[in-house]
């Protein structure tokens, strides 16, 4: 371990300079360049493959995970430094996955040593791609309303039911899912957090078409799926809700902050083009764009402020629901204004403006609706009474 953060920074900068393939430097982050990994992953290029392998060997795919599982064993400050240097070098993320974002943290907190040893190295190496199975048709924001059930058949669980909004389920190797293991218990009890291989007979997926077009979302069906009991459940039996709640926070930060999201990085001005040209002297669009810009800049500062608070250990707690709420509503406004400013040309699918506009409408639904976020703020942060 280097003695000081500055030594670490120098060391990592040098490592990046030596190991980052030139063609990856500064490439835009989008569906065509992201590396998701997994059994069936086809690398976009040799460079992508090399970069993943080198980063994995150096512990950079999961910098703060223990070294034993292929992580980097870094401190919070070291990870921050690493990210800053990666950004400075224009280096792409070597690996993205729900395993890194969601399952890993859950296993590190709730998993047995055997579970950690089995799954974490596969995640850090990008060998297994996970997807998440929480939502069910008819449940909506009420995630605890789990109808997919797992019956105890002695040596295995027999799983039947359906999940919805499982991103990339058609491309994933395994799924971590909430299933009901006790049908008589109260709603939030009786749920377990279960790991299931997507290749198990009886598991099928169907992509969901959104109003904005094709999407990574799927429906996932479980039809008499036999799951071996050994290591199937993470955390306590029937206490899967605790695990899920812990992870929801992660998901929220991801969507609200856009850290895992795909953004073009274009400014509003770039998206609108010459305001005088497109909107003429229209004070309505102009005023909306001005207001949006003011709010967006201030929201960006708020993201930073909250990140600093979180990193300084001050803790932001439930107030992070505010970031999810405000950030997603802001993006909806942004997309509306772009559509409005670009007028009729934006109404052709081919212009590429309509799909992100329509897709943005889901921002305030997925990962906890705006209504749920406002409930959380009013009850947990403002401590308004329920009666």
């Amino acid at each position: 371990m280097p003695d000081t953060l500055e030594d670490f920074r120098a060391e990592i900068a040098e490592w990046i300079a030596e190991n980052l393939p030139g063609e990856l430097r500064g490439q835009p982050r989008n569906e065509d360049t992201i590396c998701w990994g997994g059994r069936n992953w086809k690398f976009r290029s040799e460079a992508q493959k090399d970069w993943l392998e080198r980063c994995h060997a150096r512990g950079l795919t999961c910098p703060r995970w223990p070294v034993d599982y292929g992580g980097g064993g870094m401190s919070r400050d070291e990870e921050k430094t690493l990210r800053a240097e990666m950004a400075r070098a224009g280096a792409p993320s070597p690996l993205d996955s729900f395993g890194i974002w969601m399952l890993g943290p859950a296993l590190l907190k709730f998993g047995t040593d055997e579970q950690k040893a089995e799954h974490l190295p596969e995640i850090t190496a990008g060998r297994i791609r996970w997807c998440q199975g929480y939502s069910e048709p008819g449940a909506g924001s009420d995630l605890a309303n789990v109808q997919t059930r797992a019956e105890d058949m002695g040596d295995h669980w027999l799983v039947n039911g359906q999940k919805i909004w499982t991103s990339y389920a058609d491309k994933a190797d395994k799924i971590f899912a909430l299933v009901r293991t006790d049908r008589d218990a109260p709603k939030h009890l009786g749920i377990s957090f279960m790991l299931i291989d997507m290749e198990t007979p009886g598991v099928t997926t169907r992509p969901i078409r959104l109003i904005s077009g094709a999407s990574p979302f799927c429906e996932t069906f479980f039809d008499n799926v036999k799951v071996p009991k050994e290591g199937a459940i993470v955390g306590e039996m029937n206490r899967g809700w605790d695990v899920a709640k812990y992870l929801l926070t992660h998901e929220r930060e991801m969507i609200g902050g856009g850290s895992g999201g795909l953004t073009t990085g274009a400014t509003l001005s770039e998206m609108i083009g010459d305001m005088d040209m497109v909107a003429g002297a229209d004070p309505v669009i102009r005023a909306q764009a001005m207001e949006l810009e003011v709010d967006s800049l201030a929201f960006g500062l708020t993201m930073e402020r909250y990140k600093d608070m979180a990193e300084s250990g001050a803790g932001v707690g439930h107030a992070s629901a505010m970031l999810k709420y405000y950030g997603t509503e802001l993006n909806k406004r942004r997309q509306e204004i772009i559509m409005s400013a670009r007028g009729s040309e934006a109404l052709d699918w081919g212009e590429g403006l309509a799909a992100p506009w329509l897709r943005s409408k889901a921002n305030s639904i997925e990962g906890g609706t705006s209504e749920v976020m406002l409930d959380i703020i009013s009850k947990r942060v403002l401590e308004l009474p329920s009666k």
Partner: protein, 359 residues
């Protein structure tokens, strides 16, 4: 009575699922449906009885458009039966009979940029011999790819008074049309004019009087489009209210959550206020057409905003299901956006209102 009849017919023959079927089949509208509408007199709603029309007036046309908006019924109604019929009627054209029969399909080619601005028309109508040569491009032409004839505004001279409106055959040499991949799955096209010939007979109204000739058609179209958007708002709102009353979450009907109730109530208020402006626009067009622009722009501005609110609340209150293509909410959202831009957006019409009110 007209409303009830229209609603009954459209619920049965043109529900949102019909629009979906059109889209999946790649067709902008169902010609059979349009024939039936024409037989009911809808194609001639604004055409005098002397030309075989039903001559029911703009308020009636608005009621039909509202009901069409409610189910998103796709048809050439606005382009042919409202816009073209009104412009050609004012000019005393002899093609009204064909429109009333539903036989002649018209498109209005006016916009050249991303925003509606007829007075900035740059398309050339170069005098040549006894006629003109049209050269330039028109965009966002509703029903442009499927129309038989096109009303096109072009520059035959200098300044505002240099604009002339032509009524030409869509098959004329030099005119090429390219359908857009429109988000609302209807027919919006780009039209390229490469020295298209036009004669004096093709002129609607007076040479140099294009804006005046266009005005009755534009006003009628804006009012009917406002009515369509008003109906669309009521349509998605009814769907949403139904969902709020059925759907259960956290062991409660979601319509019992007060935060949603207040938003639904607010939306109701907006819809009611817009409906008044829409009804008023139709009546003023019927009784004082020359003073109707304020009323028409008021209706279009209100309807645009209300539809936007209605579809956004509709999708959000439906949650994830509202985002899926299997569900209807997206169709309302897309149509509302197209309707917002067509024939002048919110700012365009609000500016007309503000100017009339000396703001």
């Amino acid at each position: 009575m007209l409303r009830d009849a229209a609603r009954g017919f459209l619920d049965e023959n043109a529900p949102v699922s019909a629009l979906r079927a059109n889209r999946d089949a790649g067709q902008a509208f169902d010609p059979g449906l349009w024939r039936e509408m024409a037989q009911m007199g809808w194609a001639g709603v604004l055409i005098g009885e002397d030309h075989g029309g039903a001559d029911m007036g703009h308020r009636a046309a608005g009621i039909l458009a509202e009901e069409m908006g409610r189910t998103l019924a796709a048809s050439p109604f606005l382009s042919s039966a409202v816009i073209a019929a009104s412009a050609l009627r004012a000019a005393g054209s002899d093609r009204l009979g064909q429109i009333a029969e539903g036989a002649a399909l018209y498109a209005l080619a006016v916009d050249e940029g991303p925003k509606h601005a007829p007075d900035l028309t740059a398309m050339e109508a170069r005098p040549e011999g006894n006629g003109f040569r049209l050269k330039g491009r028109k965009v966002f032409v509703a029903d442009g790819a499927s129309a038989d004839r096109v009303l096109v505004l072009a520059c035959s001279g200098e300044g505002d008074e240099g604009l002339t409106l032509f009524d030409i055959d869509a098959g004329r040499a030099g005119l090429s049309r390219k359908g857009a991949d429109s988000i609302d799955a209807r027919d919006f096209a780009t039209l390229e004019f490469e020295d298209v010939e036009a004669t004096g007979e093709d002129v609607v109204g007076e040479v140099g009087g294009g804006l005046a000739a266009l005005a009755p058609g534009l006003r009628a179209g804006q009012a009917a489009l406002a009515a369509e958007l008003s109906g669309l708002s009521a349509g998605i709102s009814a769907v949403t209210l139904g969902y709020l009353k059925e759907r259960k979450q956290f062991d409660r009907t979601i319509g019992s959550f007060q935060a949603l109730q207040h938003r639904a109530a607010h939306l109701f208020a907006e819809i009611e206020v817009t409906a008044s402006a829409v009804a008023h626009a139709g009546r003023v067009l019927d009784h004082e057409p020359e003073n109707a622009q304020l009323a028409v722009s008021l209706a279009k501005a209100r309807a645009t905003q209300t539809a936007k609110l209605a579809v956004m609340e509709g999708v959000q209150m439906h949650g994830g299901i509202g985002m899926t293509d299997d569900y209807d909410a997206g169709f309302f959202m897309k149509r509302a956006r197209v309707g917002a831009e067509w024939l002048g957006d919110y700012g365009h019409h609000a500016a007309i209102v503000a100017a009339a009110r000396r703001l």
